[in-house]
């Protein structure tokens, strides 16, 4: 109310001012705000345009089929080969693996937060999850490099622990926070009556959670999964530090390169067609992300209905 009062006094103080310049000002401000409003659209168009313009030439030169399905990437060889199938498959497997490990843990943790935990404990765990979400990806990469990579090397008796498996573990940890918070929201949104009815029919609390509440929150949990996929497929720095960075076809204990790390690792010294091919990889990654965004939007839209 105080704000309103000051607004009134401000206004009353200025009523003597003429009307016409104000209209001019209104028009200018209207224009400025409209421009600001459209800026997000402009940015999206700019990003798309720049990626297409710089990514398409190399695809044309290499041939789209050779580029997407070639399984050898040898950009610095005498007769360079630009096949990005290893990167695509690594990104797909890595993301799948992260989802397979991260989603069950995240979902169980969300159930704990929403249904089981005492309010105070839930609050503490929730702030822990928030903190996990805020930790920079380079820090995750550092922990992965120092703890997970040597551990994987020792446990599986490998010459080098920097491989797809280590990357999957790091990615699974990184998607946990978003999976937990989105699924928790979904679980909490399930009507109370469902739970009460189930309990009244004699189901135990645990049965109610897994047979009634989780199925009812299915679409929200699906949102969490797709969000996790988006995060996992786009992660670059942490993966770069633990995946070994060799352009192999994916194997659980092979050093691999993801779509994201393929772009980042050669960018600083590349030139010519090699550099253009890197932009093409980015374009492919962008297409993947756009598809995931689209799916996410469709799910969210369906949920609202």
């Amino acid at each position: 109310m105080k704000i309103l009062e000051t607004a009134i006094t401000n206004k009353l103080g200025k009523t003597t001012k003429q009307a016409k310049p104000v209209n001019m000002l209104e028009m200018i401000m209207n224009l400025i705000f409209t421009v600001c409003g459209l800026i997000a659209v402009v940015f999206v168009l700019l990003i798309t345009a720049f990626l297409i313009v710089s990514g398409v030439p190399a695809i044309k030169e290499i041939g789209i089929i050779d580029f997407l399905t070639g399984d050898i990437w040898a950009s610095t060889a005498e007769t360079p080969l630009y096949g990005i199938l290893p990167f695509i498959m690594t990104s797909v497997y890595g993301t799948l693996g992260a989802i397979l490990i991260g989603v069950p843990i995240g979902l169980l943790c969300a159930v704990f937060l929403a249904e089981i935990a005492h309010k105070k404990i839930a609050g503490i765990v929730r702030s822990a999850v928030d903190l996990l979400a805020g930790i920079p990806s380079a820090v995750y990469g550092l922990i992965g490099m120092i703890i997970i990579v040597p551990a994987v090397r020792e446990i599986f008796d490998l010459p080098d622990g920097a491989n797809l498996f280590s990357a999957i573990i790091v990615l699974a940890i990184m998607i946990l926070p978003s999976v937990i918070s989105v699924s928790e929201t979904a679980i909490k949104a399930v009507p109370k009556e469902y739970k009460e009815a189930s309990l009244a029919l004699g189901a135990t609390k645990t049965e109610t959670v897994f047979k009634v509440i989780v199925p009812a929150a299915k679409s929200g949990i699906l949102t969490a999964v797709v969000l996790g996929i988006g995060r996992a497929i786009g992660e670059a720095m942490a993966v770069m530090m633990v995946a070994g960075n060799v352009a192999n076809m994916p194997g659980l204990f092979k050093s691999v390169r993801f779509l994201t790390t393929a772009v980042a690792s050669e960018m600083s010294y590349s030139s010519g067609l090699q550099r253009e091919a890197l932009f093409s990889i980015a374009l492919v990654l962008f297409v993947f992300i756009m598809i995931i965004n689209l799916v996410l939007n469709l799910i969210v839209k369906r949920n609202k209905r």
Partner: protein, 287 residues
């Protein structure tokens, strides 16, 4: 009651319950374990010398002062550009836009921006700002890249806050004869300051943690850049997170990396706390 439940059901419930506790315990352990480890490895290296010198072979110092400065510069510059844009965009969406389709398209664009991974921002930032606008690899190019990246955050938080401003405030202001801009400036924006501040803090959090988008736009230099130099010409420089990556991955100097990581953790903690505190405090002030 319990006797009526079959043993199988009981066992199932027990296992599932156990798994739930296991998962929750795992997440907590993960957090405390990794934070503890980073602090344990990093904090002994955080000394005044470490914070206040630059890396130099001659004087044998390995400080991170330049990186701290660069981080501050980039935060400042990004916020200066993104705040008017983001707040303006949110104001347009809630106060000006009449066409629902336009609002939908803009919101879709903001969501798309939020979903793009930072490595793509880095690449596009390099194409647009470093090459096309010929800014060179510089803090300016890095900050402008981050502007695109943080825009959705500012727009979303401001928009949510604007929506909570009671319609009667607006009507009251308009009824007293104020123009639309005057109403926004004196009534709407001051009452949604909580959202704007929260958005800023969240944006700072993203900037501090960002590395992939800055690697190819802001560069990797470790020189001290004075304020005047910074505003005069675009100079390259790495933020704390980028330098953490460089120390760990390219040079294998893990002690420095852990020291930076512990500083980053403290910052993250602080930013999380501030964001919650600001949202709560300012919302109270509004009521």
């Amino acid at each position: 009651m319990n006797e009526k439940i079959s043993l199988k059901r009981k066992a199932n419930c027990f296992i599932l319950n156990f798994l739930i506790y296991l998962a929750a315990g795992f997440v907590c352990l993960l957090l405390t374990g990794s934070i503890g480890y980073i602090i344990y490895r990093g904090v002994p290296y955080v000394t005044w010398d470490f914070l206040s010198t630059k890396p130099s072979l001659i004087s044998e110092t390995t400080g991170i002062f330049p990186n701290i400065l660069n981080t501050l510069y980039i935060i400042l510059m990004t916020l200066i550009v993104v705040l008017p844009l983001g707040v303006g965009s949110a104001v347009y969406l809630t106060e000006y836009a009449k066409n629902k389709k336009v609002v939908k398209i803009i919101e879709l664009a903001a969501e798309t921006l939020a979903g793009i991974p930072s490595i793509i921002y880095g690449l596009v930032g390099m194409l647009i700002f470093v090459q096309f606008c010929s800014l060179g690899t510089s803090l300016t190019a890095g900050a402008l890249t981050l502007v695109i990246m943080t825009l959705p955050t500012i727009v979303r938080t401001t928009q949510e806050s604007l929506k909570t401003v009671p319609q009667s405030y607006r009507e009251g202001s308009l009824a007293l004869g104020s123009g639309k801009w005057h109403m926004i400036r004196t009534v709407v924006l001051p009452s949604s300051i909580d959202g704007i501040v929260t958005g800023c803090i969240l944006a700072i959090g993203r900037i501090v943690g960002e590395s992939a988008a800055l690697l190819f736009t802001a560069g990797m230099a470790n020189e001290i850049i004075g304020i005047s130099e910074f505003f005069k010409a675009g100079k390259a420089g790495s933020t704390l997170t980028v330098s953490l990556y460089m120390y760990a991955k390219e040079r294998g100097e893990f002690e420095i990396a852990f020291a930076i990581a512990s500083i980053l953790l403290v910052l993250t903690f602080l930013i999380n706390f501030l964001a919650k505190f600001a949202a709560k405090k300012l919302r109270k002030g509004k009521e």
